[in-house]
Each structure stands twice: as structure tokens, then as C-alpha cells.
């Protein structure tokens, strides 16, 4: 093989002890928190059929890691957890208990095209509420997301909420064809507001319509309250739904973490209802996202509603307040003849709750460098016996 010995595939990372411990703390905090709210954790396989999960996933096809099994089927490394959970839920679990509240902490895989250093495998933690189409399920998801982030000690963060139904209604009402509406939607997916304005001008719409669209794009990310969107939208279910959702968040006294963004849009058309993004100070990248994806369940042949969110662990680690949780570490260094005694000492110390490393003196090459890593060093030698 011509590859260098230490080379890893593009985007793959080793997790060293310090980071491993941080991730483990996140896992434990999150697990405890979500279980206390009635969510059951679930694990699905790393590999799935491309036809089942790969195609249905919201992740772009070019980001999928694909491989072929011995029967010639195309497989994918799971690019997200929502799709596998929707598969499991519709095939099996839904018959048992509805609505389902499921949680996960798992690694997902997305091939990187841009820069070598970005992770192609990363942890994700999230929840899915399956089988509940009410606004209360969406409110629960958003409130859980806020509380979960708070449980990690993060205070400076924002959740921006939009609704696919409201946006579609606006785009439909103020354009003259489906093609125009979908052009504008695509520009919003890319967050190209300049492109949006340019496109509106090239459509040669009646002045009232184009003015409305231009004014909408100006304001849509800065609405201070839900009432401000009303002038753009006919009275419809989506709007009423959002009004209720905002009320529920207000009732939970969490309004200060929430902002409205009616330009929020996904390239996947199965995001049918409300959708949201999570941002936190300290990272330049989105922390996570979520939304209602009834369409995905329909894709798997079920007519129930589903909603959820996921946050990226690698980005969470970036914004996590640093906490020094030093364990008490002890090295017990022994001479060969004193092995029995060293075992005894080590065990006693471990029972006191200390992290004890048992190391033979003859096995050490640089004793000074080794012992420096420990809070305390105990020598078990002949002299001690005397």
C-alpha cells in the first residue's frame, strides 16, 4: 500500500483522551436529561440501504459515503439519525406505543468536499417525537432543545423558527408561477438575499406583488413578534399554527431564546411544517436544527406526524464552557518483589475513589516524565517494608 502509515481517510478524526472525556460528559448529561423527560434512547446500524435511508435522507447525495455489499446492493453510512429512526418507527415500534419519544446519541457520516480538515464523521444528539401532529409536540421539541442546551451550561444561544407552510403561502401568493416560487425558495435555502431581490426584479411582477416580496425579504428575519407576518399572509392554518406555537413557548417563559425567521427553508420537501435552527455564541457554525417532517413518515408509508431536532456534538464542544474536573490521580510504582503489596495499596486507593495507575519501576524508561502526570505518587519498595 502506498499510503503513509499515519494517514486517515479525508475528514476522519481520532478522539484523544481529553476530548473523549468531554464527549462522555456531554453524553451522560444529555442522556440523564432526556430520559427524565420520557425519551428512550435507541441505536440503529451504521450501514443502511441506499434505497431506504440514503435516498430519503435530507443530506445531499454527494455527501453520502456509499459502498456495495456482497449481493451488489448499494449501502450508505448513515448520514443522519432522523431517517433511520423514521424507518424503525414505521416498520416496528409504531404498533406498540404512540406517540413515541425517542432519543439518540450517535455518529453520522457526511463526506466532505470543501476542506480536508472538516469532520466527515461526527456525533449527534437529538430527539424525535413520532405520532403526534399537534402543536404541543412541536413546542415540546423546541422547549426540550432550549433546556437541553441550558443543561450544558450554555446561556448565549438563539433558536430561529420558521414555517414551510407560511413561506410557501407567501411565495405562491406573490408570484405568478410555481417556477418563480421555487426559484425564490432555492435562493432562500442558500440564504442569498441579494439573489432573491434580483430574481424578483427579473420576474416583472405587478408592482404590488414585487413590492410585497421585497419588503418581506427585508423584514422576514427580524420580526419582533408573530403579528408582523400577518400582513403578508392570508389567514391560513400554518399561520395559526405558528401563533399557537409562539404562545406555548411564551407560556414556558422561553421567548427570549427564540427569534422568528420566515425565510427559513429546507431543500427537502418533506419538511412540511415548522422548522428551526440553533445558534450559539462561540462557534461560527450552526449548532443544530430541527423541525416537523411528516412527509418523511409518509415516504415510509405511515400517515402519522413526526417532529424532532439534532445537535452536533463537535460544535457543542466548541461552545461548552470549560470546566476543570480534575480527577485525583495516583501512580503506584512498585519493585517486582513488592507486587502483592502494591496491588493491595492500589485497591485501597481505588476504593477511596481515586484513579490509580499501577506501574512497575522496571517498566519505566523516564520515571520523572511519567510521574509528572500524576497528582500523587506512591512508591512501594523494599525500604517501605523495613
Amino acid at each position: 500500500m502506498s499510503l503513509k502509515m499515519f494517514e486517515k481517510p479525508l475528514g476522519m478524526r481520532d478522539t484523544f483522551p481529553v476530548i473523549y472525556e468531554k464527549i462522555e460528559t456531554v453524553r451522560q448529561t444529555g442522556r440523564k436529561f432526556l430520559r427524565a423527560r420520557g425519551y428512550d434512547f435507541i441505536e440503529t446500524p451504521s450501514l443502511e440501504y441506499f434505497d431506504t435511508v440514503g435516498k430519503a435522507s435530507a443530506i445531499y447525495d454527494a455527501s453520502l459515503f456509499k459502498l456495495v455489499d456482497s449481493q451488489g446492493n448499494t449501502l450508505v453510512l448513515r448520514p443522519d439519525m432522523t431517517t433511520p429512526i423514521a424507518r424503525v418507527a414505521t416498520s416496528k415500534l409504531l404498533k406498540e406505543k404512540i406517540p413515541l419519544r425517542l432519543a439518540y446519541f450517535a455518529n453520522v457520516f457526511r463526506a466532505q468536499q470543501t476542506e480536508g480538515g472538516r469532520p466527515a464523521e461526527f456525533g449527534q444528539m437529538g430527539i424525535e417525537v413520532i405520532g403526534d401532529s399537534t402543536v404541543f409536540a412541536d413546542a415540546e421539541v423546541i422547549i426540550t432543545a432550549i433546556h437541553l442546551i441550558q443543561s450544558f451550561g450554555i446561556e448565549s444561544f438563539k433558536i430561529t423558527i420558521g414555517h414551510a407552510g407560511v413561506l410557501n403561502c407567501i411565495l405562491k401568493d406573490y408570484t405568478e408561477s410555481d417556477e418563480q416560487a421555487s426559484t425564490l425558495r432555492k435562493l432562500l435555502v442558500d440564504r442569498n438575499y441579494v439573489g432573491f431581490e434580483e430574481a424578483v426584479e427579473t420576474f416583472h411582477l405587478p408592482k404590488t406583488k414585487s413590492d410585497a416580496l421585497l419588503q418581506f425579504i427585508n423584514e422576514a428575519t427580524t420580526f419582533a413578534s408573530i403579528e408582523e407576518i400577518e400582513k403578508y399572509v392570508r389567514k391560513n392554518d400554518a399561520l395559526e399554527y405558528m401563533q399557537q406555537l409562539i404562545e406555548l413557548i411564551k407560556a414556558a417563559d422561553l421567548s427570549q431564546y427564540v427569534a422568528l425567521d420566515f425565510t427559513l427553508s429546507s431543500h427537502m420537501n418533506y419538511y412540511t411544517g415548522m422548522l428551526f435552527e440553533v445558534f450559539a455564541e462561540g462557534s461560527g457554525f450552526e449548532l443544530g436544527n430541527g423541525g416537523r417532517y411528516d412527509g418523511l413518515l409518509h415516504h415510509f408509508g405511515s400517515e402519522v406526524g413526526a417532529t424532532g431536532f439534532g445537535i452536533r456534538i463537535d460544535r457543542l464542544l466548541e461552545v461548552l464552557p470549560s470546566k476543570e474536573t480534575e480527577d485525583e490521580t495516583v501512580a503506584v510504582i512498585f519493585n517486582e518483589l513488592e507486587y502483592m503489596k502494591a496491588l493491595q495499596i492500589a485497591n485501597n486507593l481505588r476504593e477511596e475513589g481515586k484513579r490509580v495507575t499501577l506501574q512497575s519501576k522496571n517498566g519505566l524508561i523516564n520515571e520523572e516524565a511519567f510521574t509528572k502526570q500524576f497528582g500523587q505518587v506512591v512508591y512501594v519498595s523494599q525500604e517501605d517494608l523495613a
Binding site: 470543501t114 440564504r191 428575519t221 461560527g284
Partner: protein, 207 residues
């Protein structure tokens, strides 16, 4: 008021954009000493400028070390970074075009295209269904057709003088280019008020 970090392209665009900020009422020193400095602090406005190579501006913004930045549409199209495009500042307006020696047709099998913008060029020729071979160059693109390296070049054209001086003619107009105000998605949320205020002021000025 939170501090705002703005990534600016070094050189001519910096001066134009800086003047624009003064024109919309920001309290900035008229003269900035920017010979070798890479960072300029303006404590009165709680603004910090970082001066970057123009094609690097979207990198700083995407990673969030700069909240907003000023970048050419050419760079944005070429790099496809995850940033919000907020405003067309309408400065340094020009366009991307294909050019070549006069009265030449392209090689029938796979014409060679020399360019600084391999992605833009590839997308353009893909769209019109032309099979081409892209050759990436970093400068003096006009040399390529003259010396026989490529059939066409895809490059930025502002006045057309460089093309003319090198005996090249323009063939296809690909896309218009100007400087854009871009924002990091997280900053756009976390510093929403400041960024919106800036956008509103600039927008009024630009239009």
C-alpha cells in the same frame, strides 16, 4: 452593543467600502494607516476591521472569526461557502466572460478553458452542454490562448482593456459581478440588531 468584526478585502475595494461606511454615518477616522496593518480597531464604533486577501474574506466569515465581510460575487460563486449574502454594494462592478483569440472556433473534442475560476467555468459549460477541459491558472490568464495553452479563458472583465491589449475578444458574457456584504450565519443571529442596522443604512445609501 456587541463588537462587530468586519473582514475587508485589501486594496481598492477597501477604500471604496470604507468611504461608504463613512458616508452612511459611521464615525471612522478619515485617514487610516493601513500600510502593513492587518487589523484596525475603531473603539468609538465598536468595530474591528480585519484586512484580508479578497478571496479569503468568505473564509473568515464562514468560520465566524469575522461577523460580516465584503466579498466579490466572483469569489462567492467560486467558493460556495456557507455565508448569508445580505446586500449588493454595487461597487467594483464588472462581469465574468469567456474570451479568446478573434475568429476562432473551439476545439471540437474537448476545448481547453484556462481560468482562475474553475468552478464557475465548469458550471457554465456544463449548463450549456459543452464538454471542456478546465485548466486552473492563478494569474496572467490572457497568456493562455496567445501561447496555445487554451482555446478560451474565463475571467473577470471590467473595462475590457486587458483583453484588447492582448489581442483577445470577448465571446460569452457569463455573469455579473459586484461586491457583496456577507454575514456569518451565527453572527447574523447573535448580533442581529447591529448587522440589520448596518444593512439598512447601507441599503438606503446604495439604492
Amino acid at each position: 452593543m456587541s463588537e462587530l468584526t468586519i473582514a475587508m478585502p485589501k486594496g481598492r475595494i477597501f477604500e471604496e467600502a470604507y468611504q461608504m461606511l463613512i458616508d452612511v454615518g459611521f464615525n471612522l477616522p478619515e485617514e487610516v494607516e493601513m500600510s502593513r496593518k492587518l487589523m484596525i480597531e475603531i473603539p468609538e464604533e465598536k468595530i474591528r476591521f480585519i484586512l484580508a486577501k479578497p478571496t479569503d474574506v468568505p473564509v473568515y466569515v464562514e468560520h465566524g472569526v469575522a461577523d460580516i465581510g465584503i466579498a466579490g460575487k466572483d469569489t462567492l460563486l467560486e467558493q460556495k461557502r456557507n455565508v448569508h449574502e445580505l446586500l449588493d454594494l454595487k461597487i467594483s462592478q464588472c462581469y465574468i466572460a469567456s474570451a479568446g483569440l478573434p475568429n476562432t472556433t473551439m476545439n471540437e473534442i474537448a476545448p481547453r478553458i484556462a481560468t482562475k475560476y474553475p468552478n464557475i467555468a465548469m458550471n457554465y459549460y456544463k449548463e450549456i452542454g459543452e464538454q471542456v477541459e478546465i485548466i486552473e491558472l492563478n494569474g496572467s490568464i490572457e497568456l493562455a490562448p496567445m501561447i496555445g495553452l487554451a482555446d478560451r479563458i474565463v475571467d473577470i472583465v471590467s473595462t475590457g482593456r486587458t483583453l484588447k491589449e492582448n489581442g483577445l475578444v470577448e465571446y460569452e458574457h457569463i455573469t455579473d459581478v459586484s461586491s457583496r456584504l456577507i454575514a456569518n450565519p451565527v453572527s447574523y443571529r447573535m448580533k442581529s440588531a447591529r448587522i440589520q442596522e448596518l444593512v439598512t443604512r447601507l441599503k438606503k445609501f446604495v439604492n
